[in-house]
Amino acid sequence: MSEDTQNPAAGQADSAGRRAAAYWFSDGLPEIVLGLPYLIWGAAGLAWSLDIGSYRAFFAVTMVAMCGFFAVYFGDRKILDFLKARVTYPRTGYVRPPAIPESPSGGATGTANPKPRDRNVTLFRDSAYTFFVAFAIVLWADGRWGVPVAMTIATVLIYVLSRHEARPYSWWTVSPIALAGWATACLDLPPKSRQFLPLLIGGAWLLARGTWTLIRYLRAHPRPAPLEPLSHE
């Protein structure tokens, strides 16, 4: 994705609806909100598997992280609206992309060129599910090379499935997931600890991506003075 922080809606600029959907991801908040539960979950699991914490502590943190994941999964719009009302809307404005993917038979104007099928921010749920499936693959992977192989598959999945989404990822953006997976092969960890690495790596990657995007966004868009009321004269 072209990360033009001067114009947050830039990139994928083939229609107003698609630009609006891309704008939803321009501040990095969706990635931060999605990445946090994964990171907490993975870190809690790893700590438990290394006997750093008790099973009860792991269970409690896992429950909190799972609740966080489901809150993000089902209440993404409300959680993100709450955050964006404090960060994004005062800086670069508010837009609500189309509620449903637009019909390929044509838009409201009925022009000769039908509007492209716009992606909608509610498909954020699909993205969340994709990440979850991708990072959970390793539960079936085994041994030292299970995590690197599974993380490589996850990287390819995320790259391919995000191609036509409002927030596409480039190869170099997703490659740290696979590289981190291969790096874990050098670690001397018990098998049950390895199972939590994908959630940890995935969560850290999402959080890092989101934080980097947010910092760039905030630097490009200092909070402006309030707008004058709309004149009707």
């Binding site: 107003a16 809307y89 005062p90 404005g93 004149s231």
Partner: protein, 103 residues
């Protein structure tokens, strides 16, 4: 000669103005957008956008509503069904008139 060419005389002049057409096209692609988003997307000045929105609202093409997201006040604009019909009619007339003869 394109027999639809004379239809251009009946074209909706309220929409024919570039800034207003831009506003309607942006709003057509989204459910709703606030004043600041339109300002940035269209590259308008505040006064300019305010004036055009007021005219579009007066014609019933755009609905304007004051909302709050958290404690942040928003001036939210959306294309009305009347505005959608007007934009569709405008596009049809313009495209028909500009179509090469015989097509």
């Amino acid at each position: 000669m394109n027999d639809r060419l004379q239809d251009l005389a009946q074209i909706d002049r309220l929409i024919h103005e570039p800034a207003r057409l831009m506003i309607l096209k942006i709003l057509e692609g989204v459910e709703e957008a606030d004043f600041l988003y339109l300002l940035r997307e269209g590259g308008f000045t505040q006064g300019n956008l305010s004036g055009h929105l007021a005219r579009l609202e007066e014609a019933g093409y755009v609905g304007i509503e004051k909302k709050f997201k958290g404690k942040f006040p928003l001036t939210v604009c959306r294309l009305t069904p009347k505005g959608q019909r007007a934009l569709a009619g405008y596009s049809e007339t313009l495209l028909a008139a500009l179509r090469p003869p015989g097509k």
